[in-house]
């Protein structure tokens, strides 16, 4: 249970910064810190058990049929990483409190940071690879937010995008690999997968799975050739760099390699892929780091190099190398974090991170100097510091590694990497802190306050303590973690001592340190040489690749979706026709099982009218107004058709919908040209006509087939008819289906309706604010409008009609459950009653007399429907179960009350709100285009017009 809490705490806590920021920045930082400290405390409470070799499990079946369960487990490896994440997280929160300037939004920062923390803890504690993948992607997303925290800086945004693109892509590849892995093992639980080493390595899918997973790990851990994103992520605030890009996120890839080490490692392909990548990364990144002038850039490449170091060790595949890897993970986290923080301090105080502009800070910033120097020396691998021991052990392992039959390749390259590492570490000290004090710093540097250096000072203390007494400090932790990585309780012999005797590693170490110093002394000429030969800019290549992919994507999208309605329709029709044709000619279509009915006179007239209207539509479709009239006629005939075929509900709905649609379209027509211009060539129109004719014939044929044959299976209609009265309490089956049998559908539909109306509103709002709005404001109607837009007769008539129409609406609503009607139709009718007022007196005039905002009406509708549904749950029934009963109040007849009626009220309100909100949006466009707002109900008020006495004729 505690494990759930540890993972959940940062996520829930992500709300805290925003809530506490009003109380001040100190309170906010303290509250945020408290979240991490609590999580850390919970973790440490589990530590003793884990150190004893126990594995703590927490299981929760979430979607067991998908194999997706919220399972967590805590073993040594999880403990180490979770401890690093939470522990360093606390330090970072403290450091960031003083690092962020007054203009930076602290609440945002801490929120992102906690989200990231939660995602990271989730990764390292997950026992289910699907969960792990979710957390994995969450770290990519939250790190995107953190890198782009200074969103006003283009570097920040570009860096964030690059990081997201690279790590996100890797994450996608990893999903594939993990699914394969889970498939081979037969379970998505890591603890099960870890027991299936033989099955996995014997599987023919082992190699693809490995490749995909490694792609995810390498991109996340910035391994060559995916290393280029990490330096660009340095545009982030330094706390982020220190946290994500040295201590935690970039180690997620390493974590995963370590986690799956027992099942994946030990094969040739693993060795050559992982060890070689690690080695190359280590050497190349160290070399680049040497020539980086940006302090954080240098640290970024040094991080990449050290990650390569650890990757290589994991790639060796021997248990002892894994132990060294674990040890170096601890060491690297401590000294690299302690290096980033001084870099941030220098940036903060001197206002530059350019090494070329720094120097001599030793005297100006003594405290920072001590911290940075110790951490740098540890990174260089100088004795008595923790970096030394792990580097020695690494060189020891490297010295007897055979690569492709060559026993010199690794033993030579590894010390070369170490040599570069020494050189850039000393450069950090030498070029920044030593040398003469300068006078041209952008700002006068001095040591920061206690709050800013205490966190790195604490880490440096650890660096020294682990360096001097490693076994006492972290011996148990390394042992426990290594057992978890290796997957067996047997550990190889190793010793975390400073003095290992006179070994090859010692010589390599000495060579590295001496060589590094020599290299640094020759830095100037070497740098000129480096500048001359390095023409390869990773960012430019990345941008070019992304740009070309985007161009291909754009071409493809533009080809299919060029904004032309006729092309969309064409693509759609042809696809559907092809599918339909395939089904018809490929499948078995049964012979007609029904006889056609004789055609009666009335339907024949209706049919003829439909045909004529459609024909006219084709002939006159360029005249938009005429087209609208024809559409109205067709709509009315369809409604009559419904009524004729005994579907009164449909007829009522169709009729109301027709009215509303025509009114809305009429309003829209105001702003459109009268005629649809001819824009396509003759050939195109012929082609479209052909598609249209074939499409029409296809639909007609389909309808004919459906009408002429019986359904293959019995329909559900009989069930509805039988249960409508007994189960739903209403005799109008259509309404009972809407509000009872399938009320969840209806619930979804009214939400969609509400969203659609809100979107129309929002889009109008946006359009009116932009260039279109300005164009609209300049828009002049093609001809002057008619006067007397609100004539007396219309105004009076609509006033008379209003109560009647609303009464009809209420009536239709109330009878809905048993007779044709219902909330939807009633909503439309009431909407029409209101629309009539708008038509008579203008929108603004009528609206000023309307007391309920439409947004709220939609919201109230959805809420009422939802509450009705939840009411059923309170009564212990499933969501949206309806209840009904019969009541009698003496003078009246017995009547029925059903909870479905409350649901119907929700439908009603949503429909009214949605229709009116769309109408209002159109009216806003009209007013923006200069339509006047009348203050009085009609244009010519009768009492104003003094008609002189006129002789009757």
């Amino acid at each position: 249970m505690t494990l759930f809490l540890i993972v959940l705490l940062p996520f829930v806590g992500a709300l805290v910064p925003a809530l506490t920021i009003r109380a001040g920045r100190d309170v906010c930082a303290a509250a945020t810190g408290l979240i991490s400290v609590t999580a850390l405390g919970l973790l440490l409470a589990q530590a003793p058990a884990v150190m004893q070799g126990e594995v703590v499990h927490a299981r929760l079946d979430w979607l067991p049929w998908l194999g997706l369960n919220a399972n967590f487990f805590l073993d040594g490896l999880g403990l180490l990483f979770a401890g690093l994440i939470l522990g360093i997280g606390v330090l970072i929160i403290l450091y960031a409190r003083f690092y962020l300037s007054k203009t930076d939004s602290m609440a945002h920062f801490y929120t992102y940071l906690l989200l990231f923390q939660g995602a990271m803890v989730g990764i390292v504690l997950s026992d289910n690879i699907l969960m792990l993948l979710i957390f994995w992607e969450l770290t990519s997303l939250s790190s995107f937010l953190l890198i782009g925290y200074w969103r006003h800086l283009p570097e920040g945004r570009q860096g964030a995008r690059m990081a997201l693109a690279v790590t996100g892509m890797g994450g996608l590849a990893m999903i594939g690999g993990m699914l394969i892995l889970g498939d081979i093992a037969g379970s998505y639980d890591i603890s099960v997968i870890l027991e299936n080493r033989d099955a996995i390595q014997a599987s023919p899918l082992y190699v693809p799975a490995l490749l995909l997973i490694l792609l995810g790990c390498f991109t996340k851990s910035a391994q060559f050739p995916f290393h280029f994103w990490l330096p660009h992520a340095m545009a982030a605030p330094t706390p982020v760099s220190a946290y994500l890009h040295s201590a935690t996120m970039v180690k997620a890839g390493l974590f995963l390699m370590a986690r799956l080490w027992p099942v994946l490692s030990g094969t040739e392909i693993w060795f050559y892929l992982v060890a070689t990548t690690g080695l190359v990364t280590m050497v190349v990144a160290a070399l680049i780091a040497l020539f980086k002038d940006d302090l954080k850039g240098l640290l970024a490449f040094s991080t990449v190099s050290h990650l390569g170091f650890i990757t290589m060790l994991l790639g060796f595949g021997t248990p002892i190398a894994a132990v060294v890897a674990v040890f170096h993970i601890i060491n690297h986290a401590t000294f690299k974090c302690a290096l980033f923080m001084p870099a941030g301090i220098i940036d903060h105080e001197a206002h530059t991170r350019d090494i070329k502009r720094l120097g001599g800070l030793r005297r100006l910033m003594p405290v920072t100097f001590v911290i940075a120097a110790i951490a740098s020396l540890s990174m260089a691998g100088v004795p008595l510091l923790n970096g030394f021991i792990s580097k020695e052990m690494m060189l020891e392992e490297a010295s007897h590694t055979v690569w492709l039959g060559s026993d010199l390749f690794v033993p030579v390259l590894a010390p070369v990497g170490a040599l570069f590492s020494v050189a850039y570490s000393f450069r950090y000290i030498g070029h920044v802190f030593f040398g003469p004090v300068r006078t041209d710093y952008p700002a006068k540097p001095h040591d920061p306050g206690f709050g800013m250096w205490i966190a790195p000072a604490f880490l440096v203390t650890l660096v020294v303590l682990i360096g001097v007494a490693s076994d006492a400090m972290v011996g148990d932790l390394v042992a426990t973690t290594s057992r978890a990585v290796i997957g067996s309780s047997e550990l190889p012999y190793y010793s975390l001592k400073i003095w290992h005797g006179v070994t090859p590693a010692l010589f390599m170490s000495i060579i590295a340190i001496v060589g590094g110093l020599v290299l640094l002394s020759a830095h100037r000429p070497l740098e000129r040489l480096w500048r001359a030969i390095s023409v390869f800019e990773a960012k430019a290549v990345f941008d070019a690749v992304v740009e070309s992919i985007a161009a291909v994507g754009r071409r493809l999208t533009d080809g299919l979706h060029d904004g032309s309605m006729s092309r969309y329709a064409g693509v759609f029709f042809v696809t559907v026709l092809a599918a339909g044709g395939l089904a018809y000619f490929g499948g078995a279509v049964g012979a007609p099982t029904r006889d056609p009915l004789p055609i009666a006179v009335v339907p024949a007239i209706g049919w003829l009218l439909l045909v004529i209207c459609t024909g006219c539509m084709i002939a006159y479709h360029r005249n938009r107004f005429l087209a609208l009239v024809l559409m109205g006629v067709i709509g009315v005939i369809v409604s009559i058709g419904f009524a004729y075929l005994s579907a009164p509900d449909l007829a009522l709905t169709q009729l109301s919908v027709e009215v509303v649609t025509i009114i809305l379209l009429l309003l829209a027509l105001n702003f459109l040209p009268r005629e649809t211009p001819r824009e396509s060539s003759q050939g195109k129109r012929l082609r479209d006509a052909a598609i249209g004719v074939v499409g029409g014939l296809g639909v007609g044929g389909l309808v004919y087939l459906m009408l002429m044959s019986d359904f293959a299976q019995p329909t559900i209609s009989a069930f509805h008819l039988e249960n409508s009265k007994t189960g739903g309490g209403g005799t109008n089956v259509v309404n009972v289906i809407l509000v009872d049998f399938r009320s969840f559908d209806t619930f979804g539909e009214i939400i969609v309706l509400g969203i659609a109306a809100l979107v129309i509103y929002a889009v109008t709002e946006t359009v009116l604010r932009g260039e279109t709005g300005r164009r609209l404001a300049r828009w002049m109607p093609p001809e002057p409008g008619a006067g007397d837009r609100h004539p007396l007769m219309m105004v009076v008539a609509t006033r008379v009609m209003m109560p009647i129409a609303i009464m009809v609406g209420v009536f239709i609503f109330l009878r809905g459950h048993n007779e044709p009607g219902g909330g939807f139709i009633a909503g439309l009718i009431v909407a029409i009653a209101l629309v009539m007022q708008y038509m008579a007196s203008g929108f603004a005039w009528a609206e000023a007399r309307q007391r309920f905002p439409y947004h709220r009406m939609i919201a109230a509708g959805v809420l009422i429907a939802a509450l009705t549904g939840i009411g059923a749950m309170i009564a212990g029934r499933p969501f949206l179960t309806s209840a009904f009963g019969y009541f009698q109040i003496p003078p009246m007849e017995e009547f029925e009350l059903a909870t479905a009626m409350a649901f119907d009220v929700g439908v009603f309100l949503t429909v009214v709100g949605a229709v009116m909100l769309s109408l209002e949006s159109l009216s806003r466009i009209a007013r923006h285009a200069g339509e006047t707002v009348n203050l009085e109900p009609m244009d010519v008020m009768p009492e104003e017009t003094e008609t002189p006495e006129k002789e009757t004729q």
Partner: protein, 146 residues
């Protein structure tokens, strides 16, 4: 017997007016004249059918209902408005003030008045951004005190 005669008479009247109305729609030359034909047909023609129906159901079938009355009411309400709008749009689109007889008032034909400029105090051009409902009710107070 009398009742049947009465019902038949109304039906015949309705039929005649329906026929006349339809015939007029084809025959009359001028658009304004043509407007008269269908409005007569709807009011008198449909009205006759409705009265006949009401009589039949009240006395022969013994089932009085208000439906026909309501239909009549709505017809009387909507037909003139429809005609009014058709006439207005015809004036607007096809006629000039000089084509029309004098109104013999100090104001011209309403259809030719520009709503915005004939009386600045009467209407106002509102180019402000949309004001949410209920945010300002000044317009109501001004308008309703008239």
């Amino acid at each position: 017997m009398i009742l049947e005669l009465l019902i038949s008479a109304f039906l015949v009247i309705a039929g005649v007016f329906g026929l006349v109305g339809s015939f007029g729609l084809i025959k009359l030359s001028d658009r304004m004249a043509r407007l008269h034909a269908p409005t007569k047909a709807t009011t008198l023609g449909v009205g006759g059918v409705l009265i006949a129906s009401m009589l039949y159901f009240s006395f022969s079938a013994g089932d009085f209902s208000f439906h026909e009355l309501m239909v009549t009411l709505f017809l009387f309400l909507t037909a003139p408005i429809t005609a009014h709008y058709i006439a207005k749009s015809h004036i607007h689109r096809h006629l000039e003030p000089k084509d029309l007889p004098d109104t013999e008032t100090d104001r011209g034909w309403a259809s030719f008045e520009d709503a915005a400029d004939h009386d600045p105090a009467h209407d106002q051009i509102d180019r402000r951004r949309f004001v949410p409902q209920g945010a300002s009710r000044n317009g109501v107070a001004d308008g309703s005190t008239q």
